[in-house]
Assembly symmetry: C2
Homo-oligomer: 306 residues x 2
């Protein structure tokens, strides 16, 4: 089954308010909580598409308990390492009278994860790596984790012939590329911040030069750019899908992981990644796909050499 | 000891961010949590001034546990009734680069508290009422609680000759006045929303006509208006204190409760209420007073007949 690693998971809390007025007091109409974090969202998408997946994450405190319960309720398999620091929260505020549909997000940094706990986590993950079709490492590292943490996991995966995907940014992304990650997937802003290159093709080539076998850059509503050893492509949806952008990138990663597991060729992986991403943007919550958008869009994605 | 009732307590979470940009994602620099809710803040102020106080509140879930631990750590006495619904959160977002100093608040509505649990809560409170110098009822009622809930507590207090202060708004405030509350303390906006009167003196007289023995209206930086059976006064600070407005009203209530317990006359109560309120506005967190402001301001508050 496809393994996702979420080193810094979160209890995602969403608030519905009428309007958002900075400096004022707001009555929250509705509170929803669910297990979150980028790798966990990838698993949620895979699970929703009937693809077996395992969530691996460190958890602590009451929010950690809530994550375990939510995954159990969703029927998603997990391997959770209890750690001393409490799991963080994120808050998403959705203003109903704001037509942009953009949520305002507050992301807590997360608790410190010490070197000993990280190595325990790495050892736990290793017990399940052999034979896995893909390892996905997604999202921020918790405070205390070194920038080479994902690179270590990439090494663990490669030594067991498991392809590794890393969705990260900055020094953690660079180190993962240098460790020979099979695929790294920054978005355009993350790629620019990491490489200093304004042009995504130049930035993606730079990560390939560093050691990543393939680089896929998400370009928001414009789709994806892929720079791989087999060629370079751009994949674009037939129309822009507005709505919830949170999780669109995670859905793209889920499709790419499924495509690598299913040994699809790159154009097919990219088509699915754009379709799942658009279907995730149209869905109300991260980790789910809008079935109507998925059916409507899947055969209409243009994949062209870049 | 002065008893405070907080029917809808909260775990107050505060976030420090650089700027607040609606529709964007924010990295939270700092997370602080503490036991909150208006009655609880009143007790915190009293405790800080060396006045004995007891917090009475229903609590549930992990946030309820956190409230209990925080009160224990602060050394504040409490009588907490475990209830099924989890205690709510509030989130206060402080933007460091925003010079207004106004936090953006998100107040969860709280869990449903059924009639049976309310009556259990009322019975628990009653065990401690006899001999108490004052009962303070503060803040919103949880969903499920009828508008006459505070009125019931006022009746319980009055039948034991315990003076009752109610800091509430809307139908709960009206019902408390009609039940003969010794003191009600809306702010100007709450008074207008409750009575429909633009002029605070007219609105305050209306609440007195309904049955409240005294009405004190907080006017923000302009101080307080008092309409009582012994006379009417305005009490104003010598200068406006900018800063954290959260909890300034609770500090005023704490001073009024202490003044009733200490059998001060109205002008003295009002002087202290304005001083504590300004000192609370100048303090970084609700429930604490800025000692410097308190010393500087206490002798310089003008109390004049209204």
């Amino acid at each position: 089954m496809i393994i996702t690693v979420t080193p810094n998971p979160a209890l995602d809390v969403s608030y519905r308010v009428a309007q958002l007025n900075p400096g004022r007091s707001h009555r929250v109409r509705d509170v929803h909580e669910r297990a979150g974090g980028k790798g966990l969202n990838v698993s949620r998408v895979l699970h929703g598409q009937g693809i077996r997946t395992l969530v691996v994450a460190p958890v602590g405190g009451a929010h950690g308990d809530a994550i375990r319960e939510d995954l159990d309720a969703a029927g998603i398999e997990h391997l959770l390492l209890p750690v001393p620091g409490p799991t963080r929260r994120t808050i998403a505020v959705v203003a109903e009278e704001d037509t942009s549909g953009e949520a305002t997000l507050f992301n807590e940094p997360g608790s410190h994860l010490g070197e000993a706990d990280w190595q325990r986590f790495r050892a736990l993950l290793t017990t399940r790596l052999a034979g896995a079709p893909v390892l996905v490492c997604s999202g921020s590292l918790p405070p205390g984790c070194g920038a080479d943490s994902y690179a270590e996991l990439v090494g663990d995966a490669r030594s067991r012939s498991v392809p590794a995907i890393v969705d990260a940014t900055g020094p953690a992304l660079l180190a993962a590329a240098e460790a020979g990650a099979d695929l790294v997937k920054p978005n355009a802003v993350e790629l620019r911040e990491t490489t200093g290159q304004d042009d995504p093709v130049t930035g993606a080539r730079q990560l390939r030069d560093r050691g990543a076998a393939a680089v896929i850059v998400s370009l928001g509503p414009d789709g994806l750019l892929a720079v791989t050893g087999e060629g370079s492509w751009r994949a674009a949806p037939p129309f822009a899908v507005s709505g919830n952008p949170t999780g669109a990138g995670d859905a793209a990663v889920a499709a790419l992981a499924a495509g690598i597991a299913g040994q699809q060729d790159w154009p097919e992986r990219l088509r699915n990644a754009v379709a799942w991403s658009a279907a995730a943007a149209a869905a109300p919550v991260a980790g789910t796909l809008d079935g109507g958008v998925l059916r409507e869009i899947s055969d209409r994605i243009a994949v062209q050499p870049a």
